[in-house]
């Protein structure tokens, strides 16, 4: 069984190599090869899952060392895999949703001439993401971590001929790199503190180190998580990342890659548990981001960017839960999985809409699409109900638990976090209802473009609707199934640990509160976008709306604080290097040249001048000799 773990990574990696190096011969078959290999890796995951279920709950982790990777003195890194319940959850999510999105892409990318490469990148992403969750040490995790970053870079910039896509891709990679600095430093700190950076020893003996060290490690891990999961202050890349093809947004920037930060924090639970300050930082980041993303989501007219804001916000919930410690880890992962279903479904629905609307993304130019695209409408609608936490659907179960856990944190902190989470739920209900109303309800608002092409909305082909239907089932059922008999808690508890906090509010009160804010949010959106017609061009809006449209000025902030000073610095340094550093060198050369020019004038060619200098020299020598003798 252990050997199968390596195969899990190897299969999509092989697919990536085959498709990227295969040449034009594979252009036609490429999408199918990629999809089959993704499905194969899901199959392997399922076999391993069945095997894992067959064993006792404390005997489920598998470990396999493939080879010694970097052995230098006390620094030992192995290519070794570890498959426990937490990794297993991710494996099934990644390969499952991944396979569905491969299938979807067959239809979505059917007319793109570079689709072979697209599927190659998708397979590369799967391999890297699986490596990330299967690694048994932080350094190998880092490989997967940057690997998914690379895949994300390649896929965001897949339509490279668009300058905006190329810029967005670059931005995503560089912002992620800032996070990676955090991960690098965390690994180095672990090495100097523990002499190891493998999960098992570090996490088992974490509490032996001082709290200061652990806090430092925790904060660095949080920085890494912020980069990958688009949390404040490294959130700015996610909105731009929507330049990528929609299946990519669904898989990478909604369901899997962006949740890697949650995985990292949950995996490093032992470190955070012993470093309360770091935990405080985590919950703060989570709470701030969940509101930030939600506010941004309210103002965007681009359907994908609205969903991106939503993703940011939902991951904020997960980070918040993970920062709560053992009372939250399980629910962070549970929300991660349910979010994986409904957000992927929503993105695929958005892609389906764009596909039929000539790639129009502005929701103000949709309207009334429910009549034209019934399947998309129903699946999107179910995803919508799930994300706003409609009682009984997936999002309800997982989000409710997080809000409950936030209150259970206790004290003022608990009230603040719980309040923020509740407020977030209200805003979520508002902006998602807005998306729903703008897209599927009301009157049709599309018009022919300059060339006279009028969109003809139509239902997407089967290869696209099938994954949407499957994900819709997940959105409806997953949360309930997980909560049945606390199945998910029991499944993950051996890995992450679990404890019940003491909530000042009863579970029923929290649920009631959630439902109330949900109704308020929906009602507000209905009042604004359902009852009255929607203008085709966005009104100017309040100051907050305008700021939110500009992603709450995050890019302006980065531009003023980082980009511009950086540009001045590099320009200044180029000047300094040329004028000063090189100038000193060339100045030395010039002064030697100048001096020799002066000396050259002594050589005037007149024999008597030379004679004088000879006589003078001789006289000086004689004088010197006599003087020396006299002394």
């Amino acid at each position: 069984m252990e050997n199968l773990i390596g195969l899990l990574v190897a299969v999509p990696l092989f697919g990536a190599a085959l498709l990227l190096c295969g040449g034009r011969r594979l252009d036609g078959k490429g999408p199918y090869i990629g999809t089959v290999l993704a499905a194969a890796s899901f199959g392997i995951g399922a076999v391993l899952f069945a095997d894992m279920l067959g064993r006792g709950e404390h005997d489920r982790a598998l470990h396999s060392t493939v080879f010694s990777w970097i052995p230098v003195g006390g620094f030992r890194a192995d290519v070794a895999f570890q498959l426990d319940q937490l990794s297993m959850t991710f494996v099934l999510l990644i390969t499952g949703v991944g396979t569905l999105i491969h299938i979807y892409s067959i239809g979505y990318m059917a007319h793109d001439e570079r689709r072979r490469r697209f599927f190659g990148y998708l397979n590369l992403f799967l391999a890297a993401m699986l490596l990330l969750v299967l690694a048994d040490n932080y350094l190998l995790l880092y490989v997967g971590w940057e690997g998914v970053g690379l895949a994300s870079y390649l896929l965001i910039g897949f339509w490279q001929h668009k300058p905006s896509a190329a810029t967005a891709a670059k931005k995503a990679f560089i912002v992620n790199r800032v996070g990676d600095v955090g991960l690098s430093i965390a690994i180095m700190l672990m090495f100097t503190t523990f002499g190891s950076f493998a999960f098992a020893p570090v996490l088992a003996e974490a509490d032996r180190a001082g709290e200061g060290k652990l806090t430092a490690i925790g904060l660095m891990l949080l920085l890494a998580a912020c980069g990958k999961s688009a949390q404040v202050p490294l959130q700015s890349w996610l909105g731009d990342a929507m330049e990528g093809p929609t299946p990519v947004s669904a898989l990478i920037h909604a369901a899997t890659m962006v949740t890697a930060g949650v995985y990292l924090i949950t995996r490093s639970g032992a470190i955070f548990n012993a470093a309360p300050d770091a935990q405080t930082a985590v919950v703060t980041v989570g709470a701030v981001t969940l509101l930030f993303g939600a506010i941004v989501g309210c103002a965007k007219d681009d359907i994908k960017k609205a969903l991106a804001g939503s993703t940011m916000s939902q991951i904020g919930y997960m980070i918040l839960a993970a920062g709560l410690g053992p009372i939250g880890y399980v629910f962070a992962i549970m929300h991660l999985v349910t979010h994986g279903f409904f957000k992927a479904g929503l993105f695929l629905g958005a892609g389906s809409v764009m596909h039929s609307m000539n790639d129009e993304v502005d929701m103000r130019k949709y309207g009334g699409l429910r009549r034209y695209m019934p399947i998309t409408f129903v699946t999107f609608g179910l995803g919508y109900l799930a994300i706003i936490g409609f009682p009984g659907l997936s999002g309800f179960w997982s989000k409710d638990k997080i809000i409950e856990a936030a209150f259970a944190k206790g004290g003022t902190e608990g009230w603040i976090l719980g309040g923020a989470a509740l407020l977030g739920a209200a805003i979520t209900a508002y902006y998602m209802t807005r998306v729903m109303l703008l897209t599927f309800f009301g009157e049709k608002r599309w018009v022919p473009d300059e060339n006279g092409n009028e969109p003809h909305p139509h239902e997407s082909p089967g290869s696209m609707t099938f994954p949407m239907i499957v994900l819709a089932f997940g959105s409806v059922l997953a949360g309930g199934l997980f909560s049945l008999n606390d199945a998910f808690v029991k499944w993950l508890e051996p890995v992450t640990g679990h404890s019940h906090g003491h909530s000042p509010l009863s579970a029923a009160a929290v649920t009631g509160g959630t439902v109330v804010v949900l109704v308020i949010g929906v009602a507000l959106a209905w009042a604004q976008y359902g009852r009255q017609p929607v203008p085709r061009t966005a009104p100017r809006g309040s100051l907050l709306t305008r700021a939110a449209r500009r992603d709450l000025l995050q890019d302006d902030f980065n531009h003023v604080v980082l980009v511009q000073p950086g540009q001045y610095l590099t320009r200044g340094l180029v000047y300094v290097d040329h004028k000063l550093v090189d100038g000193v060198v060339n100045g030395t050369a010039a002064s030697v040249g100048g001096l020799s020019g002066r000396l050259r004038k002594l050589q005037n060619g007149y024999a008597r001048t030379y004679a004088v200098s000879m006589f003078g020299g001789t006289a000086v020598l004689i004088a010197a000799t006599l003087l020396m003798r006299a002394v």
Binding site: R600, Q603, N604, G605, A607, R608, A611, V612, F615
Partner: protein, 99 residues
């Protein structure tokens, strides 16, 4: 008579020769001044020989004469050639050696 007076005479002759080399421009005169300096040296050598009572100085004086003779041969030949090509015996006209 003390040999020291010969040394004074040698010094005087040398100074005259040196001054001539530095001041005059005609190559022939220059040449003669050089000869004057060499002969001043010869005189000094012979005087020293007498002063110290050995023959070293006289031997060196002979060497000097041989070298001076050789120098005259080469030097005059050069001067004649230069005069032929430039119609001038002034050393200032031959200043092409400068950089």
């Amino acid at each position: 008579m003390s040999p020291v007076y010969y040394l004074y005479l040698a010094a005087l002759l040398f100074t005259i020769g040196a001054a001539g080399v530095l001041i005059r421009r005609n190559a022939i005169i220059l040449f003669m001044c050089v000869e004057l300096m060499l002969n001043a040296c010869n005189l000094a050598f012979v005087a020293f020989s007498r002063l110290h009572g050995n023959l070293d100085g006289q031997i060196i004086a002979f060497f000097t004469m041989v070298v001076a003779a050789a120098e005259v041969v080469v030097g005059l030949a050069i001067i004649v050639t230069v005069f032929r090509s430039r119609h001038s015996a002034s050393v200032d006209d031959a200043s092409l050696m400068k950089l």
